[in-house]
């Protein structure tokens, strides 16, 4: 495939499909909200139509067939024959989901998805049910910017002839643009041949000798005759998507086979007569001729962006110039900028060591350099940032499917779809979020009967929101269901042996039991969310992104999961500290304050555990050097420097370090790939002196440490 230029065009088509599917979903949501103006309806129609068009050019028959029937129903909506009732919109959504499946299946070469027929029948029932393959409306034209006037000669008299109509004669001469937009005459000719017994003749008169052959020019033309019984509209439909990039003439055969053997190029617009020399290629059977012709346009795939015309059909609401760039290139840029940041730190260190005066030219230059590096880094990170919208749209589909599966009425409310976050974060968030949404539908929301009994509307609401909050992105999944059944959760945890029988747990701690590995509400496994993955997997996935997930739940009012994630996986603001001759970086986002301990601050809780008394609250104290195994615990912590850290769930911990050095931006280097996961360590970074320093994951560190004395810490944290 790598050597196939068509593959590139094909890939481009599928990228566009994704965009079209997105705009389709958007418009369907508008329809659902009662926005039935023609612009919305047209956008829906256009998206499906463009997908069908592109698919036709690539010979993706199953996709074309599905899109065509979908389009037919949408056309009824467009022409006002069909109302956008909630039932209709629901069917449209279903069909849109299936269309997406069809597109994916076509892209991956997988068999078409099942259940299409059922959905289509439901759809077609809306317009009075016939499985009749209505042709696309003849008045429709894709809103392409580069439309060319085309000359068509209709033989209307012939249409009126009732019996034994004369054969159709189709003269088809592609222009350069046809090949450039990724179309393939072979498919068109095959489609024609499928209509009836076709006679195809290739006209090669315009082809010059090989040495004068313009490689990108479209020089071949075809003359096709078809049985007269075929409706003209059917023939036109074949050319539906190339009308504007070819010269086409469809007429009834007038004489008795006295047709000229070749198409005359003169007078056909769009067909440049750039080939004066006589052809040397003998007339060939259709397949052979096409095989000959195909390499001509295919040799220069980059000449035009793939399916450019169809891409213009559905411009986004705010048009801004964009470039499609391979992700690898951006990643390389990100890496390079990372190197630059490290390099700049090294330079700064050696300049500092050289003992230059602070107002020297070198120092001021270096400061400007640092500012520029930071700006550059921010800009590069922005390239990787993408809105969470596609992710949310996927979740909308999950909600639809999940609610249908369990027979609940659910409405998804989304907010902050334009919030941008690193692309990798978006990709890796899809799975945990899917699971959380399924959970919310399956376990979070009550059945309609229970809801009505509780005085709530039958329709449950799941809200999915994204927002920026103090340098992180916070994504929340909330339902208005019954809330966490805490006695039951406790019971299960007890039964699984996760907590001792006499554990005194606060509500928040009980809620957090859901995240424990081995906690699976197996007694209520359903096809939907009981897939063997529990919330612990969700938490793990989010933690691997440097994120945290927390729960808030109120009985009768619902449950809210908050995921807090770093904006980027590439840089981090950290505090550089030293512990037992080792340099460590603590993420600034987790540090509340720093303090020096006085003798009276420290209270021994047990032989191994200490707490400090800070402004009326007891905070567990951890000796970082001992926790990481760098040294034995210090005999006395008097005068020690502590970092007071806060976790997402509000619990705090004090970490003892030997010294605090500076606060700076560091480049995150993954450890997982090189070594594997280390408890308490999130990643590594490279310092100005070229050495590697570990970046701590304070929440994980505290959890690992408190695992030893779990119960006492549990009691303490409340």
């Amino acid at each position: 495939m790598a050597t196939d230029p068509m593959a590139e065009i094909r890939a481009g088509f599928f990228v566009e499909c994704e965009e079209l599917l997105e705009s389709l979903q958007d418009s369907l949501v508008l329809l659902q909200d009662g926005r039935t103006d023609s612009e919305t309806v047209n956008t829906v129609f256009r998206a499906v139509h463009s997908i069908k068009g592109g698919a036709g050019a690539f010979g993706l028959d199953a996709l074309v067939a599905f899109a065509h029937r979908y389009e037919t129903v949408l056309d009824a909506l467009r022409s006002g024959q069909l109302e956008a009732t909630p039932e209709a919109v629901r069917s449209f959504f279903q069909a849109a989901d299936l269309l997406q499946d069809h597109v994916r299946a076509a892209r991956d070469g997988a068999p078409p998805p099942e259940g299409a027929e059922e959905v289509l029948r439901t759809l077609e029932a809306l317009i009075g049910g016939g499985g009749e393959t209505a042709e696309p409306p003849p008045d429709f034209q894709p809103i392409a910017l580069d439309f060319q006037p085309i000359t068509l000669s209709f033989d209307f008299d012939a249409l009126d002839e009732p019996a034994a109509p004369a054969r159709w004669v189709i003269r088809f001469r592609p222009t350069d643009a046809l090949y450039a937009s990724g179309n393939e005459p072979l498919h068109l000719l095959r489609a024609l041949a499928a209509l009836g017994s076709a006679e195809v003749a290739c006209d090669t008169t315009a082809v010059p000798p090989l040495d004068a052959l313009p490689p990108e020019a479209a020089l071949l033309a075809w003359r096709i005759t078809l049985p007269g019984e075929i409706a003209e509209a059917e023939i036109r439909e074949v050319f539906d998507f190339v009308e504007d990039v070819c010269a086409l003439e469809i007429a009834r055969e007038t004489g008795t086979g006295a047709e000229p053997p070749a198409v005359a190029p003169a007078g056909v617009p769009g067909c440049a007569a750039e080939a004066p020399a006589a052809p040397q290629v003998p007339p060939a059977p259709v397949d052979a001729a096409i095989v000959d012709a195909a390499p001509l346009p295919a040799a220069t795939p980059a000449a035009a962006p793939p399916r450019e015309t169809s891409g213009r059909h559905a411009p986004p609401a705010e048009v801004s110039a964009t470039v499609r760039v391979d992700l690898d290139r951006i990643d390389r840029l990100v890496n390079l900028v990372g190197e630059l940041v490290i390099n700049q730190a090294m330079l700064a260190q050696s300049v500092a060591e050289a003992g230059l005066p602070p107002n020297s030219a070198v120092m001021t230059g270096l400061e400007a350099f640092m500012m520029l590096t930071r700006d550059l880094q921010d800009s590069v990170m922005m390239i990787r940032a993408q809105p969470v919208k596609p992710l949310f749209q996927r979740m909308a589909r999950i909600v639809r499917e999940a609610s249908a599966a369990v027979g609940k009425e659910v409405r998804l409310h989304t907010e902050g779809e334009t919030t941008e976050v690193d692309k990798t974060v978006i990709e890796r968030l899809a799975e945990p979020l899917t699971h959380m949404i399924r959970n919310a539908v399956d376990h979070g929301l009550e059945t309609p009967e229970l809801r009505l009994a509780a005085g709530k509307p039958a329709e449950g609401v799941i809200s999915l929101t994204a927002q920026h909050r103090s340098g992180r992105i916070v994504i929340e999944v909330a339902d208005d269901g019954a809330g966490i059944n805490r006695p039951k959760v406790r019971e299960i945890a007890l039964a699984r042996g996760l907590i001792p029988a006499d554990a005194a747990l606060t509500d928040a701690e009980i809620d957090n039991l859901l995240f424990l590995p081995g906690f699976s509400t197996a007694s209520q496994v359903s096809a939907l969310s009981g897939r063997g993955v529990g919330m612990d997997v969700v938490r793990q996935a989010i933690q691997s992104l440097g994120g945290r997930v927390t729960i808030q739940s109120a009985p009768g009012a619902g449950t809210r999961f908050s995921i807090s994630l770093p904006l980027t996986l590439a840089v981090l603001d950290g505090m550089v500290v030293s512990v037992a001759d080792e340099t460590l970086v603590v993420p600034l986002s987790s540090i509340l304050e720093t303090a020096t301990l006085a003798a009276g601050d420290i209270r021994a809780l047990g032989p191994q555990t200490n707490v400090i008394h800070l402004r009326g609250a007891f905070v567990p104290l951890y000796d970082l050097g001992a926790e990481l195994g760098y040294r034995a615990p210090l005999p006395s912590y008097e005068g020690a420097v502590v970092l007071l850290t806060a976790q997402e769930d509000g619990s705090r911990a004090a970490l003892i370090v030997d010294a605090i050095h500076e606060q700076r931006q560091v480049v995150i280097k993954g450890l997982q790939q090189a070594y594997g996961r280390i408890p308490g360590v999130a990643a590594a970074t490279i310092l100005g002196n070229g050495r590697i320093a570990l970046i701590l994951d304070t929440a994980d560190l505290v959890q690992t440490a408190s695992g030893r004395t779990r119960i006492s810490q549990l009691a303490l944290a409340g």
């Binding site: 340099t583 070594y675 594997g676 408890p679 360590v681 590594a684 490279i686 050495r691």
Partner: protein, 153 residues
């Protein structure tokens, strides 16, 4: 245990010293040789993992080969070297006392080790050979450096 079949009859080995013994690895798995750098220790790591170093912007784990083979740790001074090897997709640094030589010998001169050693070290040795009267052990890097991700999982 047997020598892997290879179309080439010659095999090139990088030999190095651990304590007073001579070991070697197939030169095809060696990416580069670096001078001693102090490694950043990793918490909760097994004793043979010396830590991580910065290899031109990437994080490279360093294994003390001597400890891995059940001997005393390499002291860690400027005369020691780190041999960067690639096993599968994993790149690792091996801390050794010193690099001695590059040996080129016919594959037929490699012998499987006698099957009588019971200690762990034996499974790390893929073959033995004699060069100039010295016995040289050829290490099986896959056994010395098992897949970390699989181990961690």
């Amino acid at each position: 245990m047997s020598t892997p079949e290879s179309p080439s009859a010659e095999v090139e080995l990088l030999s190095f010293r651990l304590a007073d013994e001579e070991y070697s690895v197939d030169i095809m798995s060696v990416r580069e040789i670096r001078g001693w750098t102090r490694a950043t220790p990793l918490p909760h790591a097994p004793p043979h993992v010396r830590g991580v170093i910065n290899l031109r912007g990437t994080v490279l784990p360093v294994v003390d080969l001597s400890v891995r083979l059940g001997m005393a740790p390499v002291p860690g001074d400027s005369r020691n070297v780190i041999i960067v090897v690639q096993v599968g997709s994993q790149t690792t640094g091996l801390l050794v006392n010193a690099v001695s030589d590059i040996l080129s010998l016919p594959r037929s001169e490699l012998q499987p080790p006698p099957d009588l050693l019971a200690d762990e070290e034996q499974s790390f040795i893929e073959a033995l050979t004699i060069v100039d009267g010295r016995m040289i052990r050829v290490l099986d890097l896959r056994a010395v450096l098992p897949d970390q991700s699989a181990e961690a999982a």
